[in-house]
Amino acid sequence: MKRALALYAVAAYAFLHAPLLILAAFSFNRSRYTVWTGFSLDWYRAAFRDHQLREGAWNSILIAVTATTISTAVGALFAYGLWKRRSRWLSASLYLSLITPEIVTGVSLLAFYQWIFQFWRLHLGMCTVVFAHVSFCIAYVVLVVAARLRGFDPGLEDAALDLGATEWGIFWHVVLPYLKPGILAAALLAFTVSIDDYVITSLVAGVDSQTLPMVIYAMARRGVNPVVNAVSSVIVFGLGAMILISERLRAS
């Protein structure tokens, strides 16, 4: 059983990572096409020279980190609140926000922003993108955290209360440690949907907040080139290395 599971996991990871390896491989291809013609670092050079890509990547990461942090904090609290007592209205709204087609979210948010901007002299920008991302990430966070909360033993809450913990003390010292894996999973999901979002972002981004997906999708209009592969590889392997190091540090 254990062995079979491990074998399966290897296959599953191969499935998940195959495209990643391919795009990484072609980032070293001399040709712009997916026909191997020789090794070169040109695309990396081009990527580092490309101001737009660099800025897009930086914006993407900045937005994703901010939106993930906010939506994870808000979403985890929200899930806890709903766990204490259900609220049909709030959970229905939350589900609705998940079901809403991206384009509709984007268009209506854009309209909403414009309506607000009438009252203050504001512009689309990083903030509007972050808010939009928070609004759609939050449902992912709540769902994942709520799924984990379902298994929480209320007896532990009783025990903490009994030992003099206040309600917040319980949340902080008992519930949160228990939720940690769920929160990690939720944050990873939020980060993923945020960093990869194109439709909504493209509608609410301002002049200073073009993200990497926006650059890439715009490129796709005329056919992408391996510069994108190079940037993607740098981001993934960079973040991957960071994770690996932080895991190592935590383990030791």
Partner: protein, 276 residues
């Protein structure tokens, strides 16, 4: 008790009200307006957009999308469950393995799909390997069919199943698994009779997180499916882009949202569970 709940709910509720419910109201208004001459929209108010939805064409698109999304969800669940079990049981390495699941998805979806196109096309890697190994003579048509769409949808959404499942499985009391084995259950039975029911909240969350985005997917059917079929998400998207018929798009999405919400509600309610 209630004060904490109120404080815990407030930020989230604010986000939902301001960033979702108000825009939703705007969408509702849009759905009852008339499209402008070339783009945009305006008065008069009309129910015409809803009437046009009665067209069976859109019903068919919806059913097709629904079937594809349901199939992807089921496959994601089948593929994701053992992986989630594996991660949940790998002790100190579990965070690492968890990150490994999500890592490929920090690239743009577009780029990943291009990689799949390279893998699956006639002169692609999969056919190349199969031909080199002499397993096949002529290349297989792996791309531009429903199989490829399904593959793409499953690939794109697998983490959305694995992560909630992991969150639910990680807490599973190993004692219960031991008790099950002790009572004569083989691993497979333990999986289906003990782990599965206890991971149900995770499965539900995962199913929603896979199903809903699948319904609205447009890149995968366009690129891996070769654009030869259309999903409801693309039809809606088209209304806001090429067709520039925002009111109709708004009406269509509202109807789809209501249908999906009702389905979820009924699905959850039948088992006597709340949505969350």
């Amino acid at each position: 008790m209630n004060r904490v709940r109120a404080i815990a709910l407030t930020p989230g509720a604010a986000v939902i009200v301001v960033l979702f419910l108000i825009p939703l109201a705007i969408t509702c208004a849009y759905s009852a307006l008339t499209r402008g001459a070339y783009f945009g929209l305006g008065p008069p108010w009309t129910a015409d957009n809803y009437r046009r939805l009665a067209d069976p064409l859109y019903g068919m698109v919806f059913l097709r999308s629904f079937a594809l999304a349901a199939a992807s969800t089921a496959i994601c669940c089948l593929l994701g469950f053992p992986l989630a079990v594996f991660i949940a049981r790998s002790g100190r390495r579990k965070n690492l393995y968890l990150h490994l699941v999500i890592l490929p998805f920090w690239t743009s979806q577009l780029v990943r799909i291009y990689a799949w196109m390279f893998l699956l096309r006639e002169t692609g890697l999969a056919n190349g390997i199969l031909q080199a190994l002499g397993i096949i003579r002529a290349p297989l048509p792996l791309l531009y069919n429903d199989g490829a769409v399904l593959l793409g949808l499953v690939y794109a959404h697998l983490p959305f199943m694995v992560l909630p499942l992991y969150a639910a499985l990680e807490r599973l009391d190993p004692n219960l698994l031991e008790a099950s084995a002790d009572l004569g259950a083989r691993p497979w039975t333990t999986l289906s009779r003990v782990m599965l029911p206890l991971a149900a909240p995770g499965i539900r969350a995962g199913a929603v997180l896979v199903f809903v985005p699948c319904l609205g997917a447009f890149l995968v059917p366009d690129l891996l499916g070769g654009g030869k079929s259309i999903m409801i998400g693309t039809v809606i998207q088209n209304q806001f882009t090429t067709a520039r018929d925002w009111p109709f798009g708004a009406a269509m999405s509202l109807v789809v949202m209501v249908i999906v919400l009702v389905l979820l509600w009924v699905g959850a309610g039948r088992r006597g569970e709340d949505l969350l």
